[in-house]
Symmetry: C2
Subunit: 221 residues, 2 copies
DNA sequence: CGAAGCTGTGAATCGTGATTCACTTCTTCG
DNA sequence: CGAAGAAGTGAATCACGATTCACAGCTTCG
């Protein structure tokens, strides 16, 4: 049995694979999913088209993985900042909303792709999974709030979904606006930012805080 | 000059055209956009493929028109029930939310297609236009509320978008769930409905009412 | 070295569904 | 009726990007 894969070759293999995923993500992050053909990604990864298919069974699988990684990063962040510690449910929701919004506005093209751009079914499925993730993260906070008597009992799943939807929809407009203006000037982070981000974040945080069904007597922050 | 279009032929032409639009919409309403190829629509309209192209420059244009009509109906309804009359902004928002949710749950497949299903860019553009329509309808109510001192001043556009997003996201789950269960049993409106709709509607109405930034002193319903 | 098995290559192929167009059928009017 | 212009037809074509695959180049080990 003359050939046996070794540590070194396996490392090389992994490196190539990672390069392809990275290229796919990079392409989505700066041209959107629409721009991300297999050809283009392969070129970007300095690899032949066939190589992509030696590492992934299909385009859908490749991008599902790329989306999964990017989304996981974001979701982890939101989960982290909403984790139970001394804070009230309200504060925890606010922290999650703020983190979500800030990250999205920082990387608008990727955020738009992750959030709203038309994609393959396999990728869409990944998107769905992560939306569910966000929803569950918020739902957990809401349940804690109900248990502790801070919030009145309610359909936490639906309310959490509504929070996620509110964030998404309110951000998609500004996100695509930023993308459009970027299309003109060449490079990122130019002089006058697309739009004032802070007020937008503040509005969203307030909206989401208010929307929570507080228990009869208020605790005032 | 031997031939001149006349009233009768023009009527026939219009009828054919209408038939095609209706077929397109019907197809979307019961198989989703994914099922709506030009071929299929043509058959459904009892017309040849070429005829479709004699009436519409492209598939995108056909479906853009079909979506436009369906969406306009829905939007008109929401605009109507949120129109200013004696009611408070809160009540008007609640009425809009309720109407939106009820209609969506009544025609889940169409609602899903209108709201969230992946579609052609031309159709997506139409969708965007109508989301903006809903947003503006709610924004108008919010502005009235601010003017009348019922609500505190705020970014009405963003809040309105958040309301629309909350509705959309909270409904998409139940909508696709209903669709999936419909896929099993053959005909609509069978015995045990997909899920209890009323509580869902109530949750959404309450969520949206709560989320509005009320002026300092509360009016209590 | 050379057999065996792996990864990399990229031009050619394939699938899908929108779109075309040469032809037939219908309608109008001198 | 017959010319002329319009609507209808549907098999053939086309566009486009994902996918394949025969071949070339490494890597391992007896």
């Amino acid at each position: 049995m003359p050939y046996r894969p070794t540590e070194r070759t396996e490392a090389r293999r992994t490196a190539t694979r990672e390069g392809i995923v990275a290229a796919a993500l990079a392409q989505v992050a700066d041209g959107g999913y629409a721009s991300a053909g297999v050809q283009v990604v392969a070129e970007r990864a300095a690899v032949a088209v066939g190589t992509v298919y030696r590492h992934f069974p299909s385009k859908g699988d490749l991008f599902a993985e790329a989306f999964r990684r990017a989304s996981q990063r974001e979701l982890d962040l939101v989960v982290r900042v909403t984790e139970p510690d001394g804070r009230s449910a309200r504060e925890r929701v606010a922290a999650g909303v703020e983190a979500f919004a800030r990250r999205a506005l920082a990387g608008p093209v990727l955020a738009y792709a992750l959030l709203a751009e038309p994609v393959d079914p396999a990728v869409e499925a990944e998107r769905l999974r992560f939306r569910t993730g966000y929803r569950d993260a918020f739902a957990r906070v809401l349940e804690d709030g109900v248990r502790d008597g801070e919030l009145s009992p309610h359909d936490t799943h639906t309310v959490a979904a509504a929070l996620v939807g509110a964030l998404g929809e309110a951000l998609v407009g500004p996100l695509s606006a930023t993308m459009r203006s970027r299309a003109h000037s060449a490079e990122p982070s130019a002089a006058g930012q697309g739009g004032a981000k802070e007020p937008l974040v503040a509005t969203l945080v307030q909206f989401c805080e208010e929307a929570l069904p507080r228990a009869h007597e208020r605790v005032h922050a």
